[in-house]
Structure formats: C-alpha cells, structure tokens
C-alpha cells in the first residue's frame, strides 16, 4: 500500500502534461469556489462591522437597504436629500440622545467626501462599539480643514498639512473641481476596516462654502467667490443626505422610527441598521447562492475532467497494470494505485488553488478595497473553507473510485496478458 503511493506519484509524474492540465483546471475551480466564499464572508464582515451603536439611519424616503448603502457604506448615490429643518426637528426629539448629519456627493480622487460635524467623531462607532481615533493631527475646526481616513492617507501619501482639492460628484475623474477652495489635511484617522478609512471628512459648512458659487451641479459662469470671503455668507446647511441617530432608550426605537416615517413635512425614512443589513443579505443571498452553485459546478466539471483523463489513460496502461500484477500486485493494489492517483491530483489541485487565491488576493485585494470597500483579509485557510476543501477532496475521492474500480475490473479480466 505504501508502495502503491510511490507508484501512483511516479506514474502521475510520467503523465504530467495531461494530468497537469487537469490539475490546473481543478486548482482554478477551487480558487474560484474559495474566492467567492471569501469575498462573501469578508463582505458581510466589512458591512456588519461598519456601523455599531447607531439606532436609526434617517434619510429621504427610499428603500432601507439603499439608505444604508449610501449613508453608511458610501455605495451608490442618494436619490433625494433631507432638509436641514427636518434634521433639527429630529435632533430635538425628546427620545434622541444624539444625531449626526451626513452630507455626501463630492469626492477627492475617487474617495468620497463626507460633510458632517464634531458629533461624528463623538458618536460614530464601528466593530464592537469602537470610537474613531486620530492617528495624527486633530479634528477639523476651521472651514477649509479636512480629516482623512487611513486608506486615503496611505493610498495618496497624504499626511497632516497636505493640501487637497475636492471634486464635484463621485468618481475618480471629474472635470468640475473646487480648485479655488483647497483644503488642508489637519487629521488622519486610525484604520478601522470600515468605509471611514476611505472617506475625506470636512465640516457641513465647508460643503456649503464650496458650493456657494455653484448652481445645479456646475460653477455659475463668470461668478466666483474667493475663499477668503465665504465666511461672510450664511453657511448654515440647507439640506443633508442622511443622519445617524442614537436614542436615549433603545426600547423607543420602533416608536421613533414610526414617528420619523410619518413625519408630515417631508417624506423621510428611518431604518434600523441591523434590519436593513438583514434585508440586504436576503437580496444578496440569492446571488451568493447562485455564485456558489456555479463555482461548485465548475469544481465538479474539473473533477469530471480528471476522471475522464485517468479513464482515457487506462487503455494505454493495461500493459503496465499487467506487469504489476505479474510481480505480485493484487487487484486491490491496482485499485489503490488508480484511486490514489485521482485523490493525489485533487488534493494537489486544492492546495494549488489556495496558493493561486492567495496570489490573486494579494494582487487584487487592494483594488477590491478601494473600489468596493470590501477588505479581503489575507489568510491561509479558515475553518469554513476547510469544510469546502474537505468536500472537494471527498468528491474527488469518490470520483477517483471510478477509474480505480475500472482498473480493478480490467486487472481481473486481463490477468497477466492484456488483450489489447
């Protein structure tokens, strides 16, 4: 049996070209399967840890999932804003402990710009109730000051003192720039593993200021207000994108939610982050399961290819099997030889798949984090992934029994003289 293993390995090496192709097919299919599983779990982790301690997210009436996506995860755009008056009403509600305004829409070199106030640094929590902390510098105080997330600082090489120009609208290339009103970076936040890392934070007043001489999403032609004069204008915000709300008593959450949703002056929506996330997983879950089913099928195709290649090679190897029989191999040794070969390729393919995936994660991970805010954690293999790999190897073993059994039958009927 030990020698069957050696023989299987050397025999496989002898047919390394055809088996190598099969090996690559299995490795690719395994890296696809595990990769999808990895993106899935990491996306959920990233989302789940992005907001904590916030009881309600309030914005213009849309779907709760959409509100969460743009207000917390900076994905997509708001279809409507909420009025500043509505925010003030909300903030003064007797049950509301704190309310943080969020104003989105501008960007800096592809990173979203968030207009907010000092309350953001006070009340925003992520992960397990962790507060944002400054790695360097301080919070913004003056009008044209910005605090940047760790990812922004690292990607763009910014530190405290850097001068940055905001662009109108999202996206990496934007023709309309607020070039006349540059900002100074005064603080860099510590890495949180949340969308905050990719965000440039400025005050709500600054957002108003850079849009003073704008109308309908474009600068007003022939009209420009220099930065030094903007403080003479009323910079109180007129509208914001959304608000994060913390309650004095969490048990009031449904009552407050109902009141917000039925607010008569403006159509608003209050979403419970946890419920909205569950809704999101409900929607995404269908796609996830479909992707997993497809990648599992790809693995099955790879293993079917393996069985086909081994079976096809069996015809040429009848002589070899007869020699082994003649020197004393039992039919069960022949069975083991062929089954081990398939198992061997499957295990090797699974391991190579993990290596490929690690390389792909290292190469494409930063891009995924930059574009989609999903941080793919590099790791060797997790328990869940081991279960998937175990299933792959199990199915590979089961599939390898087919050529094993076929060779067993052949060696019984051929004996020492293959009739070829």
């Amino acid at each position: 049996m030990n020698y069957a293993f050696t023989l299987a390995a050397r025999s496989a090496w002898n047919r390394r070209l055809t088996l190598g192709m099969t090996l690559i097919a299995i490795a690719l299919s395994v890296s696809l399967l595990i990769g999808i599983e990895r993106v899935r779990t990491d996306a959920r982790d990233t989302f789940a840890r992005s907001v904590s301690g916030t009881d309600l997210v309030v914005g213009a009436r849309a779907s709760a999932v959409q509100l969460m996506l743009y207000a917390v995860f900076r994905i997509g755009d708001a279809t409507n804003n909420m009025r500043w008056d509505s925010f003030r009403m909300l903030a003064s509600h007797p049950q509301v402990a704190w309310a943080v305004p969020l104003s989105l829409g501008d960007s800096h070199r592809g990173f979203p710009v968030l207009g907010t106030n000092a309350g953001y640094f006070e009340h925003f929590r992520y992960g397990e109730s962790r507060a944002l902390a400054l790695a360097a510098g301080q919070r913004f105080e003056a009008l044209f000051e910005a605090v940047i997330g760790a990812e922004v600082a690292e990607r763009l090489g910014y530190g405290v003192g850097a001068r940055i120009v905001l662009n109108h609208g999202a996206g990496e290339v934007s023709l309309a720039a607020h070039g006349d009103k540059p900002f100074t970076v005064v603080g860099v936040l510590e890495r949180s593993g949340t969308p905050v890392d990719r965000t440039v934070h400025v005050s709500l007043e600054a957002i108003e200021a850079i849009h003073l001489d704008w109308q309908g999403g474009a600068p007003i032609p022939g009209f420009s207000i220099p930065a030094e004069f903007v403080s003479k204008f009323n910079l109180a915000p007129k509208q914001i994108t959304a608000a994060l709300v913390g309650l004095k008593n969490r048990s009031a959450v449904f009552a407050v939610q109902r009141q917000v949703n039925s607010y008569s002056d403006e159509p608003l929506l209050a979403a419970l982050p946890g419920v909205a996330l569950d809704d999101l997983w409900q929607i995404v879950g269908v796609a996830e399961r479909t992707l997993l089913a497809i990648s599992a099928t790809v693995v099955a195709v790879g293993l079917a290819g393996l069985v086909a290649v081994i079976l096809a090679g069996l015809g040429e190897r009848r002589r070899e099997l007869a020699i082994l029989r003649a020197v004393g191999a039992r039919p069960r040794d022949i069975f083991a030889l062929l089954t081990l070969e398939g198992l061997f390729i499957t295990v090797l393919g699974a391991m190579l798949g993990l290596v490929l995936l690690s390389v792909a994660t290292a190469a494409l991970g930063p891009l995924a984090e930059l574009r989609y805010g999903v941080a793919i954690r590099p790791r060797v293999v997790s328990i869940d992934e081991l279960q998937w790999l175990g299933m792959v190897v199990g199915v590979g073993l089961a599939a390898s029994l087919i050529p094993g059994y076929r060779a067993y039958r052949l060696s019984l009927s051929d004996g020492l003289m293959p009739r070829t």
């Binding site: 002898n14 070899e320 020197v327 004393g328 191999a329 020492l416």
Partner: protein, 238 residues
C-alpha cells in the same frame, strides 16, 4: 519437500467464460525442481492460459493445480497473488518494464510486493539494491545502462532487465513467455544462455514458452503443449 514436483497438474480443465469447448484439458503434467523445460506450440494452443493458471490469476474449472506442493486451487485470490509474488518470476514477450521507473526500480518491483524475496536477499547478507546490481551485472547490464530510463533501452536490454527482475529474491519458478521473439536473431541465443545460467545458479525451475525451435537446444526437456493438452488433440481430431 525434496521430491515434490515444482509443478503438478492432474485432470485440469479450463474453459473461458462463455466458451463451448475447453481451452485446456490436461490429464497430467509435472515439472521437477531445477528442471529447464522448453514448451512449444502454435499460438492459440493455450500457452498463455496455462501461464495464467500457473500465475494464479486464472482458476481451472476442475482438477488439481499444485505449485511447490501447495494447491493453488484451494487458495483465495489474495493468497494466490502473494504466492505468485513470492515464488514465481515472469518474463513476457515485450514491454516488460514500467516506463516511468528506472532500470533498478524495475528490477526491485517484486521485492516491494514480496517479503519472502526480501528475506531471501537479506539471508545472503545483501541489500535488494546490491542484489539488483549483481543480477544486472551477470546479465550484461552494467555501468550507466542501469541509470537509463527503461524506455531508452533496446528490446534486448529491456528483456535482460526483465530477466533480472524475474530472478531477484530467488523465486523457485521462472516463467518466460516468448521472451526473445522481439529480439534480433543473434541476441536470442545469448539471452537464453544467460537466463538459463542464472536460473541454474539460483536453482530455479524454468518454463520457457516459445514456438521457435532453434532456441530449444539448451533445454534438457522439450514438450509440445499439444502433447499434454487433450483439448487440442480433440479439436484437431474433429
């Protein structure tokens, strides 16, 4: 075990599955210890079937088939495989070698499957590797020929490797099935000579199957399969 025949067959009948008539019908056949037997017969006379029976991969429909005093017919299949590994060395017509193993590893194959062959080598105070080299030397396969890939050898060289493999670990019976038919005429006699000399040195019984009578000269006993197989006689009479 001194006077027990190495091979003893009585009233053996073998029929291929689905066949109407018997392929082998051997009333009596014996081969003695250290005997060198030349067995000839046209193709289709049941030579290969007889070898399959002697190797224990086929079982007769009825009759007695004994090797070294052991009845193969009363053994289970794995025991017959083990018996073959321990006591019988085979050399086939051609393509005797495993292509992905080197010369030495090919020679060592039976030792991997038979603990008895390992023990016999150890009893001589040698290692299997030494023994493989010694046999290859004796068969004229010395030097770097040993380190070549099996598939890069000429047919004659391959058959010498096969002979060393059959002989290693001193099995009592060597069965050679037309081992020279793919060789050049000049080399055939040399090969038979070497094989018989080494078998004699090991005290092994040789059953050499061939239809080429020119090779029969070195064998003390020569036999046509038709002489012992009644099935052929019946078929020819009919």
């Amino acid at each position: 075990m001194g006077d027990t025949p190495v091979i003893r067959i009585r009233d053996l009948l073998f029929r291929w599955r689905g066949a109407e008539t018997a392929c082998l019908d051997i009333p009596a056949f014996e081969v003695q210890r250290a005997e060198h037997l030349f067995l000839h017969g046209p193709s289709g006379s049941g030579k290969s079937t007889l070898l399959g029976l002697l190797g224990g991969v086929l079982l007769p429909e009825r009759g007695e088939l004994g090797l070294l005093g052991t009845k193969l017919t009363s053994m289970a299949a794995p025991a017959r495989d083990r018996f073959r590994a321990d006591h019988v060395g085979f050399i086939f017509q051609q393509f005797n070698l495993i292509p992905y193993l080197g010369v030495i590893d090919n020679v060592l194959l039976p030792v991997r499957f038979s603990s008895r062959r390992r023990e016999r080598i150890a009893a001589r105070g040698a290692t299997p590797f030494d023994e493989a080299c010694r046999l290859l030397d004796r068969l004229g396969m010395s030097g770097d020929l040993r380190h070549r890939e099996a598939v890069r050898l000429s047919v004659g060289q391959q058959q010498r490797v096969a002979a060393a493999r059959a002989l290693i670990g001193g099995p009592e019976i060597i069965i050679a099935d037309e081992p020279t038919s793919a060789m050049d005429a000049g080399l055939q006699l040399v090969f038979v000579d070497l094989l018989l000399k080494e078998a004699a040195a090991a005290g092994a019984t040789v059953i050499f199957v061939s239809h080429d009578h020119r090779l029969a000269a070195g064998f003390p006993r020569q036999l046509a399969l038709a002489d012992i197989n009644r099935a052929i006689a019946v078929a020819e009479a009919a």
